[in-house]
């Protein structure tokens, strides 16, 4: 690099730039968190939904599925599964309940989690809540996720 551009200048850009943009990120984060209630469907965030989220987590559903496009890419997107299943939580529960214990020969299949009726309802409600989050441009692009 040129002699006129000194190490001191590079160092100042590093310190100044990173502190400045860190503060910008902080500011934007405050603004984002403040404006979330408009889109995050928190009015429907019930105890039941929270319990469903915990079940979602402790069964590591994200290890196969995406949820709003994040997760693994082995199994379908679930951020819009409530819509895909005709806005019917019963249909979601029946699907989860009916997974064969030993899988399907030669094909990908979902484990049988042996959930209770109450747990099934909680998971279905969690997925319904997730579907209610208002994503920009209504992502995903279509019903197939």
């Amino acid at each position: 690099m040129r002699e006129t551009f000194t190490k001191g200048m590079a160092r100042n850009i590093y310190y100044g730039g990173s502190v400045f943009f860190f503060l910008v990120l902080l500011g934007l984060t405050v603004d984002t968190v403040r404006s979330l209630p408009k889109t995050d469907n928190s009015q429907n965030l019930t105890e039941e939904v929270a319990a469903g989220k915990r079940l979602w987590e402790i069964n590591n559903c994200i290890g196969c599925h995406t949820l709003l496009g994040e997760g693994a890419y082995f199994a379908p997107e679930l951020g819009n599964v409530y819509t895909r299943y005709g806005e019917n939580t019963e249909a979601i529960k029946i699907f989860i309940k009916s997974r064969p214990k030993d899988g399907i020969p030669g094909r990908r299949s979902m484990p049988q989690f042996n959930f209770t009726e109450e747990e099934l309802e909680q998971i279905a409600q969690f997925l319904k809540y997730a579907d209610g989050i208002k994503t920009a441009r209504n992502w995903p692009p279509n019903i197939q996720g």
């Binding site: 000194t6 190490k7 160092r11 850009i13 590093y14 990173s18 943009f21 860190f22 990120l25 934007l28 984002t32 968190v33 979330l36 889109t39 995050d40 928190s42 965030l45 939904v49 929270a50 989220k53 915990r54 979602w56 987590e57 402790i58 069964n59 590591n60 559903c61 994200i62 290890g63 196969c64 949820l67 709003l68 496009g69 994040e70 997760g71 693994a72 890419y73 082995f74 199994a75 379908p76 997107e77 214990k101 030993d102 899988g103 020969p105 030669g106 094909r107 990908r108 299949s109 484990p111 049988q112 809540y129 997730a130 989050i133 994503t135 920009a136 992502w139 692009p141 279509n142 197939q144």
Partner: protein
């Protein structure tokens, strides 16, 4: 090796390589499950194998980073490590905690693991990459803090070089941002938003500092180029990394229920994120071209240049490919993401750790460089792993483009599962490339045992 305590790095590097083997074995299992869905089902379902694959990756990279720091910090600071015993103790704690966690994934259902580790007290499990039981996470924090204390005290009471300060800053950032893994609100949007404070601010933020400092150190050693020049590069690279990468986090806030302005901010800033990676490429080639000596360790030079190129391709080019909001609208959460994830992690972080190992391991074993035959085997392993990773990336990109078209773009979109069947041939080819990668890893390990005429320390 100037200081006795540097040799602690050897322990860390051996563990890193061992876990790397485990990571790749599980990668090959995952790849097979993509095409033979019932492989190992229900004993090792896909999600379990995936956790093992990704968590082993993270853990061995952390071993690699810490090992690198234990090697380079004393030499840069011109003193012994502050507390070598602490570094050894933390090594065993981290190794045992890591091994127990992986065994936990494999031996009991994940929900049971959550129960025995009392996830309910502070629920943090079950989010991608952060699947570790809460108690393991606490363990990671303890190890990280002890590590920071150890290198911090060494650096502060020794010579404070730019390389050391950047390494210390990067490692501190790594520990600080990891704390966000303990925040897991019920509100899904908030959860996702702050999840990226760990994942994105690691790989596109503070890890770049660690990477740049390791690269700078190795380049000084093998080229003998003036420190002033190297330090100037180092500063400007990490400046660009943070200037673009902090707001660049926004490329993950397009479609998760966050405000629309992120589409602009995230697109613009993350589109600039390739700059620091490109500068690393310029830097490495520039410095090697201006070298003042020909270091006998040709393999280390190859790794260093390879890192610079592959990090730019994987993070810079493949990152840019899907980082603009209008493109990401279609590619978000597809095989395109997986393609990029693989080449970026390999090109930047796997390769930089292997660069450091390549440079330092022969020295810790009492030679200046590996013998000629060992170096040839090592260079073979470089090409096998790197070229197969390029092919893994290309095949996944092919799969991803078709997936986007069939499932998201065409007039009459197919379901996810039908689409997966249509693109199966790409997954088969990925699996073959994965096996070549595994063979390359085999060659890599072999290279440590190849005998030949020793290259004595000058």
């Amino acid at each position: 090796m100037k200081y006795q305590s540097q040799s602690i790095a050897k322990l860390y590097f051996i563990a890193a390589i061992g876990l790397f083997v485990g990571q790749i074995l599980f990668g090959v299992i995952l790849g097979l499950q993509y095409v033979m869905g019932d492989f190992l089902f229900p004993e090792i379902p896909f999600n379990v194998a995936r956790m093992v694959h990704t968590n082993l990756l993270i853990v061995w990279l952390l071993f690699g980073f810490m090992g690198s720091a234990y090697y380079l910090v004393p030499e840069e600071a011109e003193r012994e490590l502050y507390a070598p015993w602490l570094a050894k103790l933390m090594f065993w704690i981290f190794l045992v905690a890591g091994a127990l966690t992986i065994l936990g994934y494999l031996l009991v259902p994940y929900a049971t693991l959550a129960e025995i580790t009392m996830n309910d007290l502070l629920p943090t499990m079950g989010r991608e990459f952060l699947e570790q039981p809460t108690i393991t996470k606490i363990g990671i924090v303890i190890v990280a803090l002890s590590f920071l204390f150890n290198i911090g005290m060494t650096i502060l009471s020794g010579r404070k070089t730019v390389i050391n300060l950047v390494m210390l800053t990067g490692m501190t950032g790594l520990a600080v941002f990891f704390l966000f893994s303990f925040y897991n609100p019920d509100n899904l949007v908030l959860d996702k938003y702050f999840w990226w404070f760990v994942v994105h601010l690691w790989v596109e933020g503070v890890w770049e500092l660690i990477m740049a400092s390791i690269l700078a150190y190795v380049l000084i050693k093998i080229t003998g180029v003036d420190r002033e020049v190297i330090e100037k590069w180092l500063y400007i690279i990490i400046a660009m990394a943070l200037i673009t990468g902090l707001i660049g986090t926004g490329h993950h806030f397009f479609w998760i229920g966050t405000p629309g302005y992120w589409q602009w901010l995230g697109s613009v800033f993350s589109a600039l994120e390739p700059i620091p990676f490109f500068m690393m490429t310029l830097f490495a080639f520039n410095v090697v071209n201006k070298r003042r000596r020909d270091h006998p360790n040709k393999a280390a030079t190859l790794w260093a240049l390879g890192t610079a190129v592959m990090a730019f391709l994987g993070a810079g080019v493949w990152g840019f490919l899907h980082t603009l909001a209008p493109v990401n609208y279609y590619t978000h959460g597809t095989q395109i993401t997986a393609a990029h994830g693989h080449m970026a992690f390999y090109g930047a972080y796997v390769m930089v750790v292997l660069t450091m190992i390549s440079y330092s391991m022969p020295i810790m074993r009492g030679q200046k460089a590996g013998n000629d035959r060992a170096q040839i085997v090592e260079m073979w392993s470089f090409w096998l792993m790197t070229v197969s990773m390029v092919f893994i990336t290309l095949f996944l990109t092919g799969a991803g483009i078709l997936q986007v078209y069939l499932q998201r773009y065409s007039e009459d979109p197919m379901t996810f599962m039908v689409t997966q069947d249509k693109i199966e041939v790409f997954y088969w080819m990925r699996e073959v490339a994965g096996l070549v990668f595994l063979a390359g890893l085999g060659a890599y390990i072999t290279s440590f045992f190849v005998k030949g005429e020793e290259v004595k320390i000058a």
